[in-house]
């Protein structure tokens, strides 16, 4: 069981949520979105 857990943990280390290489493959647009800032606040007058 320990061996399984260790393999799992190692696997996990390489498969986190953040994987820019993968997003790069999926297209530049996605990349842009991740760095897109919120627009400046507008208020209605």
């Amino acid at each position: 069981i320990t061996a399984v857990l260790v393999t799992m943990r190692n696997k996990r280390a390489t498969q986190g949520t953040y994987s820019p290489s993968r997003q790069e493959k999926d297209g530049a647009r996605v990349e842009m979105w991740n760095v897109l800032k919120l627009p400046p606040t507008e208020r209605l007058i």
Partner: protein
């Protein structure tokens, strides 16, 4: 457009010197109590800049305020240096004649082109209070899948200005909705992020089972609903009003899970008003029986002919039953339309895409099951006694149909009681004679 300056504007002239060499401009706009002018402001450093002119407000109608103008003062009150939230509070309490001291924006815009309204059907739900990207929260317009939106400005490609159909009278100011490509990109991003999250889940032992289930579901979508394109991101569809001509009735398509009453409803219409309703004559490869009439009961054709017609895309749907092929052709629906009768069809969801791409202009009604308890009662009336899991399955099936094909439906009827559902169905069908309906604009081109 400038009036001779009344005495009350004197302070402006005294203050203009404060702004050095800048070209300043004074405009006056009448503001009604508690009604916004219909312009938005943003901060740019110390400055308060007009960011957006909203259709339907006094600001837009006056034509005196422009995007990019900096507001220096309003009625002599210093605005530069204020936070937009303060400006918002300040203006909310003001009314009457407002004098703006402005530095006109540098951007020179082409003269306003003639307003063209685009009508779209929304294929997704939108809640601006849940959207951090909406530039102005007061203006966010919420809508639900199936709502018709009148898009009156796409000047900002990311944020369209729109009214929800039916809202125009009590809502003078347009609202902001995400633009089509903006929404597509956002959804694409969401999907990528969700996919990326999956491997992390599998790191936990107990999630292995969960993942398997999910994979199975995707497979189901891909196979059983082969017309449903998983890659497609649904946003908006352009719509136009179409009034059904008296001698060319739109075919009525009933869609829904088995056992929810679509066949009973169809049968009832045909029996009660045979002069109004008709079924399309199907094709079959079965040989004709003695009491049958070719062209009335079926179009009897050879297997070769049937296969050729399949390849030629002539069938809306077809299937095999006891080694014979049966199918409904586009032409047989057209024959009913040409006879000025209303064609009634119960179809599978797979046929919808084909039907929508034809020139038949179908009116598609989803017949949905009621709650599990009501469905049990409904089926008990027919002498059936389904198990709870069967009931759950029907309801789950309906939910899936709605999820994957809801954007094709014109309307839905929840069949809680067959008599009531019948009356509602008849009312909807009759309405097509008197009221124009929204149809995809591509149908009318």
């Amino acid at each position: 457009e400038m009036m001779p300056e009344p005495a009350s504007d004197d302070y402006f002239y005294e203050n203009i010197g404060l702004y050095g060499d800048e070209t300043v401009k004074i405009v006056r706009i009448e503001k009604a109590r508690d009604i916004p002018l219909g312009a938005t402001v943003r901060n740019d450093g110390d400055s308060v800049i007009i960011s957006r002119i909203v259709k339907g407000g006094a600001a837009e109608k006056s034509g005196l305020l422009h995007e990019g103008d900096e507001i220096l003062q309003i009625n002599g009150m210093e605005i530069r240096g204020k936070d937009v939230n303060e400006v918002f509070e300040l203006l909310a309490d003001m009314h009457g004649n407002l004098s703006f001291l402005l530095i006109p924006g540098q951007q020179s815009k082409p003269p306003p082109s003639k307003e063209t309204v685009v009508h779209v059907k929304a294929h997704f739900d939108y809640d601006p209070s849940d959207d951090p990207y909406v530039p102005c929260r007061e203006l966010g317009l919420s809508f639900q899948k199936g709502d018709i939106l009148h898009v009156i400005s796409q000047e900002d490609p990311n944020w369209w200005q729109a009214y929800r159909d039916g809202d125009e009278d009590n809502q003078p100011l347009a609202g902001l909705v995400p633009g089509k490509s903006f929404q597509q990109q956002r959804e694409a991003m969401k999907q990528t992020i969700e996919e990326d999250k999956e491997p992390e889940k599998s790191g936990k032992l107990w999630c292995a089972k969960k993942n398997k289930k999910k994979r199975k579901k995707v497979l189901y979508n891909a196979n059983k609903n082969d017309d449903y394109d998983n890659e497609e991101i649904l946003t908006y569809e352009e719509m136009s009003l179409y009034h059904q001509p008296a001698n060319r009735k739109r075919p009525i398509i009933l869609i829904g899970p088995q056992s929810c009453g679509q066949n009973e409803l169809r049968q009832r219409l045909m029996t009660n008003e045979p002069e109004r309703f008709a079924a399309a004559v199907p094709h079959t490869t079965r040989s004709r029986r003695e009491n049958e009439l070719a062209g009335r009961d079926y179009h009897f054709v050879s297997r070769q002919t049937f296969d050729a017609d399949i390849s030629a895309g002539k069938f809306i749907e077809f299937g095999e039953f006891e080694k014979n092929l049966y199918g409904t052709s586009i032409d047989s629906v057209r024959q009913v339309i040409n006879s000025s009768k209303i064609c009634l069809l119960c179809l599978h969801t797979q046929s919808l895409k084909m039907l929508r791409n034809s020139d038949l202009k179908p009116y598609i009604i989803f017949i949905a099951p009621p709650s599990q308890e009501r469905l049990r009662a409904l089926l008990a009336k027919e002498g059936r006694n389904p198990k709870p899991e069967e009931l759950r399955e029907i309801i789950e099936k309906a939910r899936e149909m709605e999820q994957n094909n809801g954007h094709f439906f014109d309307t839905a009827i929840v069949n809680t009681d067959l008599d009531k559902a019948y009356q509602e169905l008849l009312r909807l069908i009759n309405k097509l004679d008197t009221e124009p309906q929204w149809v995809p604009s591509s149908w009318l081109r």
